[in-house]
């Protein structure tokens, strides 16, 4: 692997400089990222906790969506999804492995969007979402296009965090900071 440092003079042209370093967001930007991280991560932690507390309700929600006929798949989803949500949500809120956690949450949200659209096409509109147990974010009418938009906004937030990372107020930044000599 060649290095610009191999030349006799310091790099001056864009070709010699290599890829530009990621732009550092300001303190306001970091604060916004922190808010987004805690918001999105917190929502997923809450959703996961509720599902883990009452797997029967979550299984019935999966069953009602009619996304799959396989009982094993439903049972696996019932027990696996909440744990993945919990770990990813916790990591995102703390800013630990932020991009990876945001990627997982974004992927899950895309799956949820697909499940909701699938349910709408099967005339299951209005079906209770059971996404956040007894609580709602914005949409109160159960499964519908409002839910698709709501999940779309959350996916956009997750995508933003994949691109930007956790910002300066994150464990990632704290752990990557070079130790003083």
């Amino acid at each position: 692997m060649s290095s610009p440092a191999a030349t006799d003079h310091p790099p001056t042209t864009p070709g010699e400089l290599g890829p530009p370093p990621p732009k550092s967001v300001g303190s306001l930007g970091s604060f916004i990222l922190l808010t987004l991280r805690i918001g999105l991560g917190g929502i997923f932690c809450l959703a996961a906790t509720l599902k883990l507390m009452n797997p029967q309700t979550f299984w019935e929600a999966i069953n009602a969506f009619k996304a799959t006929n396989s009982e094993e798949m439903k049972l696996m989803g019932t027990h696996t999804l909440p744990w993945i949500e919990l770990f990813a949500g916790l990591a995102l809120a703390l800013g630990f492995w932020t991009r990876e956690a945001a990627f997982i949450i974004g992927s899950l949200l895309l799956v949820f969007i697909w499940a909701v659209i699938n349910a709408i096409h099967k005339d299951l509109g209005g079906l209770p979402c059971s996404c956040l147990g007894y609580w709602h974010l914005v949409c109160t009418d159960g499964v519908g296009w409002c839910k698709v938009r709501e999940n779309g906004v959350l996916t956009a937030i997750a995508a933003t965090l994949v691109v930007t990372g956790g910002g300066s107020l994150s464990l990632d930044r704290l752990l990557c900071r070079p130790s003083p000599r």
Binding site: N54, L75, T80, W83, S130, G133
Partner: protein, 211 residues
């Protein structure tokens, strides 16, 4: 890039491992289990007198499909023409429900009626003395009043009738709590049948069951 993929896989693997552990210990019910309240044999000996007609609020005679049976404990059997799904195992007729409502007893257990519809519908009219407990109240932790009042008691659940699945959902959730709630029954004709039969209906807020 490799590190990114590796970290994603670590999180997913961690979640999946715990998920499989959860599956191994899962108590999720795919269908309602066989109703123990319907299959037990009454422990008390049968009285000598022959059945004479519809039962009154005595608690000493039993109902089977609306007929009197000579047992010391209500012997509830599923009603005829019930749907083929597992919920039919829990169905009782209006007469059976009314008898339990009159006596407030099933064997040596107290009977509590549970309204599985939404609270607004409960306020518009419910079986007198029933507890309101819509199925979505079980999202997350079960309501405190369920934990306080239902354990150790027989429970009769109802909603809009035979085609309404809310009663079945509530029964599943009550079984899943593992709080010794039951036996559990579902009024096949629901509140419309109860109302049509002219049985006692109350309107307004929750009766006596407080958090």
């Amino acid at each position: 890039m490799e590190r990114f993929v590796l970290r994603v896989l670590v999180v997913i693997l961690l979640g999946t491992t715990l998920g499989f552990w959860g599956m191994a210990h899962s108590k999720v019910m795919w269908k309602l289990p066989e109703n123990p309240g319907l299959t037990h044999t009454p422990p008390t000996p049968a009285p000598k007198q022959a059945p004479t007609g519809p039962t009154g609020p005595t608690g000493s005679t039993a109902v089977t499909g609306g007929q009197v049976a000579p047992t010391g404990k209500p012997e509830i059997k599923p009603t005829a023409a019930a749907p083929s799904d597992a919920a039919s195992d829990y169905f009782i007729s209006l007469e059976q429900a009314k008898q339990m409502w009159d006596t407030k007893k099933y064997g040596d257990k107290d009977v509590i009626f549970v309204d599985a519809r939404e609270y607004v519908e409960y306020q518009e009219g419910h079986i007198a003395g029933a507890m309101s407990c819509p199925k979505r109240r079980f999202d997350g932790a079960a309501p405190k009043y369920v934990r306080n009042y239902l354990p150790g008691n027989a429970v009769v659940v109802y909603c809009h009738g035979q085609d309404c699945t809310d009663s079945e959902a509530v029964v599943k959730r009550l079984i899943a709590l593992n709080l010794n709630i039951g036996p559990l029954f579902i009024i096949k004709d629901g509140i419309p049948g109860w109302e049509k039969a002219g049985y006692p209906i109350n309107k307004g807020d929750s009766e006596g069951f407080v958090n």
